[in-house]
């Protein structure tokens, strides 16, 4: 992991990942194409964050997401995160901006995350 003193601006990413998660027998569709449930976005975001923070994520991770538009089955998404600040009360905790987008650069979900960098 990078030095905790130099994390601001650090960018991490995952993907492209093809959206193929099962819909579960519902009528999830837009433009006559089935869509991937938003839980897929959440799964990919947490996978990115667990990869970065590893065990710290399970004991101090926080993630809030707003879903903006669906991913259609077969489309790919990219997940990105960027460290934007240190926590005011805990210098070992970082705050991140998190988002995912499709291959056209359209924003699918956006949110904030935070986690202890070192316990």
């Amino acid at each position: 992991m990078p030095d905790i003193a130099n994390l601001i601006g650090l960018e991490i990413s995952r993907g492209p990942i093809q959206g193929t998660s099962a819909v579960g027998g519902s009528d999830l569709a837009t433009n006559n194409r089935p869509v991937v449930p938003n839980i897929f976005h959440f799964a990919q975001m947490t996978e990115l964050l667990v990869g970065q923070f590893q065990h710290n994520w399970f004991t101090s991770g926080q993630l809030s997401i707003r879903y903006l538009r669906p991913l259609q089955q077969g489309e790919e998404l990219l997940i990105r995160a960027k460290v934007i600040s240190y926590d005011d009360d805990n210098a070992e905790r970082v705050n991140l901006s998190v988002w995912c987008e499709n291959m056209n650069g359209e924003l699918l979900a956006t949110g904030d995350a935070s986690c202890n960098w070192a316990l």
Binding site: I17, Q18, T20, S21, A22, G24, S26, D27, L28, P37, N38, I39, F40, F42, A43, Q44, T46, E47, V50, G51, Q54, H55, W57, F58, T59, S60, G61, Q62, L63, S64, I65, R66, Y67, P70
Partner: protein, 159 residues
């Protein structure tokens, strides 16, 4: 509105009206190795990968516990079929300790809000997941619709 949409909205509205702010539900769940492996495969997650403790115990993928509490209030049986297939519009999660594979997890959810907005019926659910040691492992808040049907934008309830 077409007939299918009208029918769905009638069922969704009826279900929405049965849900009360403050009502809660509790249930226990176990995430088996087979459950987690299947979820990881479907969602292209590298498991066990990072999801192993130092003692070799496998951990449940965080995204997997996302869905279960919401199922009880709107998205699962025995609720009306057309009310089940809603979509999540916001999610918030705080992780405090890992959830381990094959260990019981106690979920408690409570409806903290419900409303009709931009043509969709929504509920907001706060929930906790508590591990076998009695310590809260994860807390969360979900915002999701009941069903996919909505009032058209030109309908008085659609704006």
């Amino acid at each position: 509105m077409n007939d299918a949409n009208s029918e769905a909205l009638t069922l969704i509205k009826a279900h929405f009206n049965t849900l009360e702010i403050g009502s809660s539900l509790e249930f226990d769940s176990i995430f088996s190795t087979a459950d987690v492996r299947e979820y990881a495969r479907e969602n292209n997650i590298d498991w066990p990968g990072h999801y192993v403790e130092q003692n070799g115990q496998s951990l449940v993928v965080p995204g997997m516990i996302f869905f279960r509490p919401a199922v009880g209030f709107g998205l699962g049986e025995p609720n009306p079929p057309l009310a089940r297939a809603g979509f999540f519009t916001r999610t918030s999660r705080t992780f405090m300790q890992p959830i381990r594979v094959n260990e019981a997890v106690h979920f408690r959810g409570q409806i903290t809000d419900k409303y009709l907005r931009r043509g969709y019926y929504y509920i907001v659910v706060d929930w906790t997941a508590t591990g076998v040691d009695g310590v809260v492992a994860v807390t969360g808040r979900e915002w999701h619709t009941l069903g996919w049907a909505r009032y058209p934008k030109n309908h008085p309830k659609g704006g």
